[in-house]
């Protein structure tokens, strides 16, 4: 059970017998009344989005899911293939379900695959992944601390903003929750 003060983006909850992921949540307080939390929830299978408002102190059940550690293997025709390294069981999840999470999947990445009624419906990524830059404008020499940024394409095809001193071929640490560059990884 999650109480309103534990609500946050990414929370997986059960509503009317269906699994939802919280994609937005905001504290709202009327001038002269109880506090509420306004949420936007996305059905984890159909993708349908609903808005719900909860009074402070109300609770939501956690989504009824089972979780298995698996490794990402490869992508083919928009299907992403994962393997359970203990049982060698393989499952696929379509890009439609993974959405922006597909941006951070690299070969052999350990993820948690979430199952409902034995069907894989989503993955939980590690908070940070390391990915290689395959394309970006040349580095500006010596500039190690400014806030200015440029675009870089990563090995997964994702495009992110990076500092000017980054060069093609470098490995970067990315925060998968925000999709933002964190730091350069020394080899």
């Amino acid at each position: 059970m999650y109480e309103t003060n534990e609500f946050r983006k990414g929370l997986k909850v059960e509503i009317d017998g269906q699994p939802y992921e919280m994609v937005d949540c905001q504290f709202v307080k009327p001038g002269k009344g109880n506090a509420f939390t306004r949420t936007r929830l996305k059905h984890m299978v159909t993708g349908a989005v609903i808005d719900r408002t909860y009074k402070s102190g109300e609770k939501l059940d956690s989504a009824h899911l089972t979780e298995h550690p698996m490794q990402f293997m490869y992508e083919a025709d928009g299907d992403y293939h994962f393997m359970n390294m203990a049982t060698y069981e393989q499952v696929t999840i379509s890009k439609t379900h993974l959405e922006e999470k597909a941006n951070w999947l690299h070969e052999n990445l350990e993820v948690s695959v979430l199952f409902r009624n034995n069907l894989p419906i989503a993955v939980d990524l590690p908070n940070f992944v390391e990915l290689e830059v395959v394309e970006c404008d040349p580095a500006v020499k010596g500039d190690t601390k400014s806030n200015a940024s440029k675009r870089a394409t990563l090995s997964t095809g994702a495009v992110i903003q990076v500092p000017l001193f980054i060069d093609s071929g470098e490995r970067l640490r990315i925060d998968t929750r925000t999709g933002e560059y964190v730091e350069r990884v020394k080899r």
Binding site: V28, K32, T53, S146
Partner: protein, 412 residues
């Protein structure tokens, strides 16, 4: 010279650096680049640089050395270069927020000037008090020895009215526990003002003037892309706003069960222990509030009497309303005004009811503010007053989507 501009642009007029430094004396400062060129910024002012030695000194570096005249500019010959390691700073995002902090400062200054020009008495009342406000949904921070931090300066400002001040304003930091979100910080700046002998209309006029003065200081006339601050502010009532957005008429929903059925029909979950106000807010928050003031700011007046707090109430043909309004700008509530209750008997009754509600909810029950009540007995003139969240207004005016974006530090 590396060219990336890490530092926010200069604000205000440039002041030349001291003559001694320009004449070749020792100088220490930071190199900053912007569209107008490269500058050295020291304790006394700024000087344009034609070149820097060594060449690999970067924007943001600190140096000490000498200035060598070079045409209209100066060449900086640095003996010591220090490159600050911003990535290791405990406040890595702070530098990027400096421009927003500067704009907030301009807005606050414009607001102070606005009240000064209207002849308001600008005061500071105590922040640490034995009797914080009793409103059941506000939580005060304990401040030791039976004292609390104020949730608003309301009670002290009304004592000023009773003592004879007729136009009084305070820029106060208010403290409210358990309030955290993009538009809530547990401590925030509000501007609260009162006019003796005034109706709510006069406070609305103040609001329009204040918002426009602040907008001019921020150099904008539009908020969130859609809300035009130059247009006359709209006026509506809670009953009309609710009917407009949902078709529900408060006149026939005065009964809790009737409202509960209407809320359920509109697809909102409700709890068995929801009071009438909770049910009302479930619809209001989900379907009405976010659209208020979308194209221009709107005053929403005549709240249900159960939400009167310290406002007078009035009987309309269809029900009782509180003489209160809130101001919404682009879906964000920024102010709450009362036609002030000044009847000491009714005020004491409401305070006792609030204390009972706090006790029933398991919240701390603060003592009655007998000095405030004595001021009403002595005679607080009829008055209207308002608290406006200056931090919220400033955030909207600078295009920020959170209060944190216009403050240097997070609240921990």
């Amino acid at each position: 010279m590396r060219g990336a501009q890490a530092y926010p642009p200069f604000r205000g007029p440039r002041v030349p650096v001291a003559a001694a430094a320009r004449a070749g004396g020792p100088v220490a400062g930071r190199i900053r680049s912007d569209a107008s060129g490269t500058w050295l910024s020291d304790a006394s002012g700024e000087v344009r640089l034609s070149a820097v030695e060594p060449e690999d000194a970067a924007d943001g570096d600190w140096l000490s050395g000498r200035l060598v005249p070079d045409g209209a500019a100066h060449r900086l010959v640095a003996a010591v270069v220090h490159a600050p390691r911003l990535a290791e700073s405990p406040d890595p995002g702070l530098l990027g927020r400096l421009p927003a902090l500067g704009r907030r400062a301009e807005i606050v200054l414009a607001a102070r000037r606005f009240f000064h020009e209207l002849g308001f008495l600008d005061v500071e009342t105590p922040s640490r008090v034995p009797c914080p406000g009793l409103e059941p949904h506000l939580a005060a921070f304990p401040a030791g020895a039976g004292q609390w931090l104020i949730t608003s300066p309301e009670l002290h400002l009304k004592r000023l009215l009773a003592a004879g001040a007729e136009r009084v304003v305070e820029f106060a930091r208010a403290f409210r526990d358990d309030e955290r979100g993009p538009w809530h910080r547990p401590e925030f700046l509000l501007v609260e003002w009162y006019r003796a002998f005034a109706e709510l209309d006069e406070i609305m006029t103040d609001c329009e003037g204040l918002v426009r003065a602040c907008a001019a200081a921020a150099g904008t006339a539009r908020v969130r892309g859609t809300c035009d601050l130059a247009a006359p502010f709209e006026r509506t009532t809670v009953r009309d706003a609710l009917a407009g957005a949902t078709g529900l008429d408060l006149a026939v929903l005065q009964d809790r069960d009737a409202l509960a059925r209407a809320v359920a029909r509109r697809g909102h979950a409700a709890a068995a222990d929801d009071r009438w106000d909770d049910l009302f807010f479930r619809v209001w928050i989900a379907e009405v509030e976010q659209d208020l003031g979308r194209t221009r700011p709107v005053f929403v007046a005549d709240y249900p009497a159960s939400q009167a707090a310290l406002a007078r109430t009035r009987r309309e043909s269809w029900g009782e309303v509180a003489e209160r309004f809130e101001l919404y700008v682009a879906g964000v509530e920024i102010a709450n005004a009362f036609h002030e209750l000044n009847d000491p008997v009714e005020q004491r009754r409401r305070h006792e009811a609030d204390r009972a509600a706090r006790a029933a909810a398991g919240a701390p029950v603060y003592p009655l503010d007998e000095r405030f009540l004595a001021a009403l007995v002595a005679g607080m003139p009829p008055a209207s007053g308002i608290a406006l969240g200056l931090d919220r207004l400033a955030a909207l005016l600078v295009g920020a989507e959170s209060l944190d974006a216009i403050h240097p530090f997070e609240f921990r």
